[in-house]
Amino acid sequence: MDGFLLQIFSGLANGSIYAAVGLALVMIYQSTHHINFAQGEMATFATFIAWSLIENGMSYWLAFFLTVGIAFVGGLVVQRIFIRPVERAPILNNVIVFVGLLVIFNAMSGWIFDHTVKAFASPFPTVSAVFPKYISGHQLGSLGVTLAVLLVVYLFFRYTPIGLAMRAAAQNPDSASLVGIRVSWMLALGWGLASAIGAVAGMMMAPVMFLDPNLMAGILLYGFAAALLGGIDNPWGAVIGGFIVGVLENILGAYVIGSDLKLTVALVLIVGTLTLKPNGLFGRRVITRV
């Protein structure tokens, strides 16, 4: 029973990170109908930036917020420069640009920060204040941070005029420009936000997985699975999907197939959801059949 609870809590902690990545993916998908394959590598790169800030003496939380800001601006700039020109191009061209970005960010991480594995600090105490038997201090802290981020994003979209404008631009870009919204800037903002969320996910993951250029590659896959499971057009579905995937991963890993095949689990989840329940658990839009 103890071991089981341990897996559940650990699964929830990991799940919160998959939820964040899944949310970032859905945000970009909702507004552009594109899947950002480069999401993971951008998050890794941001985490490296945080690492080097801390290495150079900055306090953790200052580095944290500064990195989130840099990631936001970075995401915005990437959309303006690289994504906008191919907005109306065929899907294949878009996918190739995303893959190109994936590769460039990964290469930059390796080039600038080299490939040796680095330790990344956790700002949380080692022992958790709550349920210390089942969850570590860092896991509790990262759960708290990601939930806080998700809450802020929710409030932003629900109650601010810009949040409303972004939702409108994502749902119906033509009508949005007819009420005076600069749709293409809304897309850029969406990218900035998604990038910032990814950075948070990376910084929460790094203390556990250690920091090297391949940090987020596997996480990206889980983020995809979470987003698909929740319904690719439903941001809150992605969040719930993330927690489900996190817990499932741990339970299956501990009791069924061992921890070696985790990526295969992600693959099966992805292909399975796409073929058996393409709308996910909570989605509404039907995925276009070719």
Binding site: Q171, S175, S177, L178, G180
Partner: protein, 236 residues
């Protein structure tokens, strides 16, 4: 100064040309209607005002050239467009749709005042304020679309086939309200309609389009009463 001046407007969808040297003027305060059969170019004309299609020629709005400007910029200059198909944000609530209509306004305090004004014209929207726009009936969505456009406090309101797909009683109701809006708010209107008799009853001036060319223009009253014109061009 004329509200709107259009000179030698040509418009294309890709390589297909839809409008050929269309010219007309709108005076402030009036209601003008553009009539014509399916495919005559009526919707294209409205889209050319907002620059959502490729155009050449001159469009001048309140003295400023707007040809080649971005749609959102033109909207912010005071031109509101109720597109064909209504264009409501179906996944958002009625209230959110209205708030979005006022998105570009700087005078945020007057917005709630204007929402109240909208309710006076369309009381049904008040009842459905927090409902999802997609669940409203066709008529109510049309009311919402017009209200959203009014939230801009526009100087010119473009309406694309507001009667489309609606029951005759609702259409009468909406057209009456539009006449009201024109009188009380002083909003000028450019109305595109397939239903010629309805439009001619409401408008002051009318233009008739045939395959992208203006073939007839004159005061609505005269066209309405000229039987031969009506029979030849408007089918009634």
């Amino acid at each position: 100064m004329n509200l709107l001046e259009v000179k030698n407007l040509n418009a294309w969808y890709g390589a297909t040309q839809a409008l050929f040297d269309v010219s007309f003027d709108l005076k402030q305060g009036g209601i003008t209607t553009i009539l014509g059969a399916n495919g005559a170019g009526k919707t294209t004309t409205l889209r050319s005002m907002c620059q959502t299609v490729k155009t050449s020629g001159e469009v001048v709005f309140l003295g400023d050239r707007i040809s080649g400007l971005a749609t959102d910029k033109i909207v912010r200059m005071g031109m509101a467009h109720v597109p064909d198909g209504r264009g409501t944000f179906t996944d958002l609530t009625v209230e959110e749709n209205l708030r979005l209509g006022a998105y570009s306004r700087k005078d945020k305090d007057a917005v709630s005042e204007d929402i109240e004004g909208v309710f006076e014209h369309f009381p049904r929207l008040k009842e459905r304020l927090y409902q999802q726009a997609g669940t409203l009936s066709g008529g109510e969505q049309q009311m919402l679309a017009i209200s959203r456009a009014l939230m801009l406090r526009p100087k010119l309101l473009l309406l694309d086939e507001p009667s489309f797909g609606l029951a005759p009683l609702i259409v009468q109701e909406i057209f009456e309200i539009m006449r009201n809006i024109n009188k009380t708010n002083g909003v000028s209107m450019l109305l595109v309609e397939q239903n010629a008799s309805l439009a001619l009853n409401l408008a002051d001036h009318a233009y008739l389009l045939e395959t992208g060319n203006v073939v007839l223009s004159g005061p609505a009253k005269d066209i309405r009463s000229d039987e031969s014109v009506r029979r030849t061009y408007l089918g009634y």
